[in-house]
Amino acid sequence: MKKNLLSFKSTLTVASLVIASLVIALSLVSCGGGGGASGGDSTGSNDDALLGAGSSFDYILFSKQFSEYNKANGLKVNYQSVGSGAGISQLTNKTVDFGASDAVMNGKQDSALSSPAIHIPITAGAVALSYNLPDVKDTLNLTPDIIAGMFLGTISKWNDPKIVAANKGVKLPSTAIQIVHRSDGSGTTNIFTTYLSKVSTDWNTKVGKGSAVNWPTGIGGKGSEGVSGTVKQTPGAIGYVEMSYVIQNKIPYARVQNKAGNFITPTIASVTAAANVQIPPDSKVSLTNTDAPDGYPISGFSWVIIYKEQKYNDRNLDRASKLLKLLSWMIHDGQQYSPSLNYAPLSPAAVNVGDAILKSATYDGKPILQ
């Protein structure tokens, strides 16, 4: 009898263990689902550091700016370079004070927000086309038509008449063109495919634009280093890489014909020039295929995104004004660190628009910056 009782007891223990663990499992699952709601507290914490997340393109510039700002004003900023899309979803979940993105938020991302957000242009970058043709010493000229043709797979040899016509006097080999693109979703891809969609109707209908697309041809390389590494070791390859990356690594890259018909080398100056155009009041503009005659056509802004109404969760006015002051410093004094890091400083037009947008941010309905 005793024996039975005891074994019954142990069965009971095991059973209760099973039930307890099931409860744990379920709560784990539901935590995963409702992460947005419970994660919101961190923004309102008394911790002094501001939190940001997003674009990896901005990371190097931000690190420099934030460390300089910390020296001058004693404000710490923690920035996670997790990618533009992830930055936006962290802002949506209110786990960060600001997000950073190489693309403006799309309709679906906008509708997921609890209140409207504003985009502040923070820096500009460009996408360069680097290639591997060991016997060609001159810098190649590429027209929008050629670039679209190559990436669609319709131009498949380097001595294609179209390429020869754009590069008179250059002896081009009959090597097959090997396209290299980014395999990871990225802002670089977004700028490049936005450009292609603008200059080629074929591209626009067949492929379209986005941070990841269905490439009709080519090898996918992971990250800038994956693309440039593949280009470097594959004869006849051409790929698109962030401008700062090709400049630092001294990889050959092409001049691209802009809307005005000029062949432009991607440089800091030509990217800043590309941004010196009419910018709409909300700053949501793509600089690709710019009207500026001396602007490099495959350029784009990177934005910092914040909520327009800064009073949410239990944020206080102090935190909100710290954030706004930081952002204001970034688009003014903070821009001096751009050229040495191969980022293009904001054009005067962009800074003016940025100022106006920052002034529109409110706390409890009242403007924060005077």
């Binding site: 005793k2 142990s10 263990l17 663990s21 784990l28 899309g85 979703g185 590494g229 070791q233």
Partner: protein
């Protein structure tokens, strides 16, 4: 008196009856002994319960992962249905997602890697387990093989991109592949093969060392040569263990991400040969997750994880069946 262990535990009634001296010392001694026995029983129970809890936690973890994957991939399952599995187009712009190219890429690259690696891991296992179990050279080799498993996979990726891919490209142009790029499923299988060798080799080596020496000595006594002993004693005795090692390698190959993504070419087109570019499920998730900007897109990527999870489960179940068949023989 029956055995004192039932269902893995000791119960009070199983305590042996003893004749106790009626002197005070005798009683004290007996009491002490009984107290000690009860303490032993308690330790026994606590230990067993700890094991049960830890075991259950693992089960819960796996069930939790499965549940999360299913819940999070619901939007994609609702939007795309079953054709997700055999759809050939992966187009995030149009919100069309088909996992077939990646499913195929994962299976081809993993099984090819397995085919390439098995002869090597078997050879290493037999060499270290049977021929030279002791000595500085085997020790060195053993450590070297185990070190292979400790190298981070991104290092393999860069190594493959810088060293392996040019060699594969030369090889491809020699055998007349149409577009010798070097990257592709074949290159990724090669690097995977290197990465998974230690798993089958280590397990195989320990299994082979466990073969009772009487069996081998009997075979030698019957006049068998070393090759004959390995073929008809060692391998049959250890085959389920060897197979388990191979299964472990396969699981590793299916889930490997970094090294594969750096050399497989990452295209969403259907692979048409082993030299073609391709992509695997793990690699697509790693590449696209951080920038997936639409709910269905994110969900489709999570569903890819779910498919990978199920593929692994199915392969493991089949493997278990095969091992059972082996051991029943």
């Amino acid at each position: 008196m029956d055995t004192s262990v039932k269902n893995g535990g000791i119960t009070r009634s199983d305590l042996p009856l003893r004749v106790i001296n009626s002197t005070p010392e005798g009683i004290a001694k007996a009491k002490n002994r009984i107290r000690r026995s009860f303490r032993q029983i308690r330790t026994e129970t606590v230990f067993r319960q700890a094991l049960v809890i830890i075991g259950l936690l693992m089960v819960i973890l796996v069930m939790g992962i499965l549940l999360t994957l299913v819940i999070k991939s619901m939007p994609s399952i609702k939007a795309l249905g079953l054709k997700y599995l055999w759809g050939k187009t992966w187009d995030p712009v149009q919100d069309i997602y088909g996992a077939a190219p990646f499913l195929l890429g994962t299976l081809i690259s993993s099984f090819l890697a397995l085919v390439i690696s098995v002869p090597f891991s078997l050879a290493i296992a037999i060499f270290l387990g049977e021929y030279y179990p002791k000595g500085w050279l085997p020790d060195f080799l053993k450590n070297a093989v185990e070190l292979i498993a400790a190298v981070p996979s991104v290092i393999y990726g860069f190594w493959a991109l810088a060293v392996l891919v040019p060699i594969v490209r030369t090889f491809e142009s020699h055998i007349g592949v149409l577009a010798p790029i070097g990257q592709g499923i074949f290159a990724s299988s090669l690097v995977l093969a290197v990465m998974i060798i230690p798993y089958a080799a280590s397990l195989g080596r320990s299994m082979i060392q466990l073969v009772p020496s009487q069996l081998k000595e009997a075979a030698y006594g019957l006049g068998a040569t070393r090759w004959e002993v390995i073929r008809s004693v060692v391998l049959p005795y250890t085959k389920s263990g060897l197979f388990a090692g191979i299964l472990l390698s396969l699981g590793r190959a299916l889930g490997e991400t970094m090294a594969v993504t750096m050399v497989i070419g990452n295209t969403s087109l259907m692979p048409h040969s082993i030299f073609a570019l391709g992509n695997t499920m793990a690699s697509v998730i790693a590449n696209e997750f951080s920038e997936a900007d639409k709910p269905v897109y994110v969900s489709a990527l999570i569903e890819l994880g779910l498919v990978l999870f199920l593929v692994t489960v199915v392969i493991n179940l089949i493997g278990k069946k095969i091992i059972d068949r082996f051991t029943n023989d």
